[in-house]
């Protein structure tokens, strides 16, 4: 019994390090998510039984893959006694042991899993749920809690996504070269959605749900390792640079602190350094896109000693390029705020007013909040109050609402 304990902790360590890779390979070999998950658990149960007696194998991952595969074949044989599943069995059994080729093939399996979970034929919320469940190994209950839905709802979402993969025959494959850029953009979108859900929860009390942000960063690191494209580096950089500011974004009482007021000593220098290096590498490739540009902007903020000495001209220039790559009113709004810092609040206000007049940001609380702030700086307090009130009507997140209410009160008192 005592001898089994160090083995148990070894098995647990192997589970943490290898279970997702083993699962990814089992899905390829068994052509079935549910069967592969069951096989994964059976394989680890077998390891707990046999490793104390036989010793830890030289290549635990290879051992687990073949144990899982045999367990699944057993399982199918038992099932076949009750149903005529013989052809199915032959198909799965037919793959030779050589299929369990390692290293090269295994890295591909994790990439295959990511591209399958993020297939555009699946609804976006299903892609996000399946990626967190299968690629990151987060339990359905935890995913549900992170997205503020009931566990049965999340379980349904995952079941439907798996059924979609099976019924439409979504292949377990990395897309071919011509399709890769578009499909990769879809994967990056899912990763960024997970990050944003963690960085700025879309509703509820807590402003940051650090675990999801951390999970998104881990996913992006995996992608950089498997597919080192410039935009993958750009996305990882963007998330690291945003996340580096997390300790300073809220006060100890849970209040929101604006960029210009943050205590920059609290920023995570290691993450900033890593993010900035990734940005440089992505920019050098000259094949970068919107994530890299946003990361370049975040890097300039992160490396400035304070808001006043930030290189606002450079930031406006990067927003110009970003706006050409991705013409969006939200990007234009951010550019307007940077212009206000470079040329004065008047210039920024004119741009924000033009954007609101165009009508696409009418219900976006941050557009009204930005306008209110510029009016406040210009001393036009009555108009500022009206804009803060409008922003407050539209804001959903509690800390943001408290911040806006505080600013509204201050402007009203001056």
């Amino acid at each position: 019994m005592d001898a089994a304990d160090p083995i148990r902790s070894t098995v647990e360590a192997v589970y943490r390090a290898e279970s997702r890779r083993v699962l990814a390979t089992l899905i390829r070999l068994l052509h079935d998510f549910d069967l592969a998950e069951e096989a994964l658990h059976d394989a680890f149960a077998a390891a707990l039984q046999r490793w104390p007696r036989e010793g830890v194998p030289a290549n635990p991952r290879a051992w687990l893959v073949s144990a899982g595969r045999f367990k699944a074949i057993d399982h199918l044989r038992r099932r076949a006694r009750f149903a005529a599943a013989a052809p199915e069995l032959a198909l799965r059994h037919g793959a030779g042991v050589d299929d369990v080729a390692f290293d090269d093939g295994v890295a591909d399996d994790r990439l295959r899993l990511i591209f399958t979970c993020c297939h555009p034929a699946l609804p976006l919320d299903g892609q996000v749920a399946l990626t967190l469940r299968e690629v990151c190994g987060i339990s359905t209950e935890e995913v549900a809690r992170a997205f503020l839905v009931r566990p049965p709802t999340m379980a349904q979402r995952i079941v439907r996504a798996k059924a979609g993969i099976r019924e439409a025959r979504i292949p377990y494959a990395v897309p071919e070269r011509p399709d890769l850029p578009e499909r990769l953009a879809g994967v990056l979108h899912v990763v960024y959605l997970v990050f944003n859900e963690g960085y700025a929860a879309s509703a509820g009390d807590a402003l940051t749900r650090a675990d999801l942000a951390e999970e998104a960063i881990r996913l992006a690191r995996l992608l950089v390792e498997l597919l080192p494209e410039p935009e993958v580096q750009g996305l990882l950089a963007l998330m690291l640079l945003h996340d580096a500011r997390r300790p300073a974004r809220t006060s100890w009482t849970g209040e929101l602190v604006l960029l210009e007021d943050q205590d920059r000593r609290l920023w995570d220098r290691e993450r900033i350094g890593e993010g900035a290096a990734l940005v440089e590498s992505a920019l050098r490739s000259r094949r970068f896109g919107p994530y890299t540009l946003q990361a370049a902007i975040a890097a300039l903020h992160a490396q400035a000693p304070d808001a006043a000495s930030t290189d606002w001209s450079e930031i406006v220039g990067l927003y110009d390029v970003l706006l050409r790559a991705e013409p969006s009113p939200v990007v234009a709004l951010n550019r307007a705020v940077a212009v206000a810092m470079r040329d004065g609040a008047d210039a920024g206000l004119a741009l924000v007013d033009a954007l609101l007049a165009a009508g696409r940001l009418t219900d976006y609380h941050l557009a009204h909040a930005a306008r209110a702030d510029l009016l406040r700086r210009l001393g036009r307090l009555q108009e500022a109050c009206a804009a803060y009130e409008r922003a407050l009507e539209l804001a959903k997140l509690e800390p943001e609402r408290r911040f806006l209410a505080r600013r509204l009160k201050e402007a009203g008192e001056r």
Binding site: A121, E167, A168, R169, I170, P171, A173, P175, D179
Partner: protein
Amino acid sequence: MRYLCLIYSEEKMWQTMPRPELEEMYGQYFAFTEDIKSSGHYIGGNPLQPTSTATTVRVRDGRLCTTDGPFAETREQLGGYYLVEAGDLNEAIQVASRIPGARVGSIEVRPIQEVMAPA
């Protein structure tokens, strides 16, 4: 596995398209169809008459009810289809992306559900 590729576009566009462009489009469809016939993807396919010729049939409480036109008013109308054989969804999407109509309208790719015949 079989996939049905439903071709949607604005009917009006076809009705107002100048003759040479229309012929160019027909030529592209002809070439595409030949192409997927020789690659083994083609099972069947047809253009449809305009929605003005459509009849919608319903039976409610045992009573037949027919109305003119398509069931739903949408911006784009079903104008034709291809039934294709493909190894998986990615291959079907590849084929669908080469349908000339994909450049002016949209293609809905639907996997065929296999139905076992009653014994």
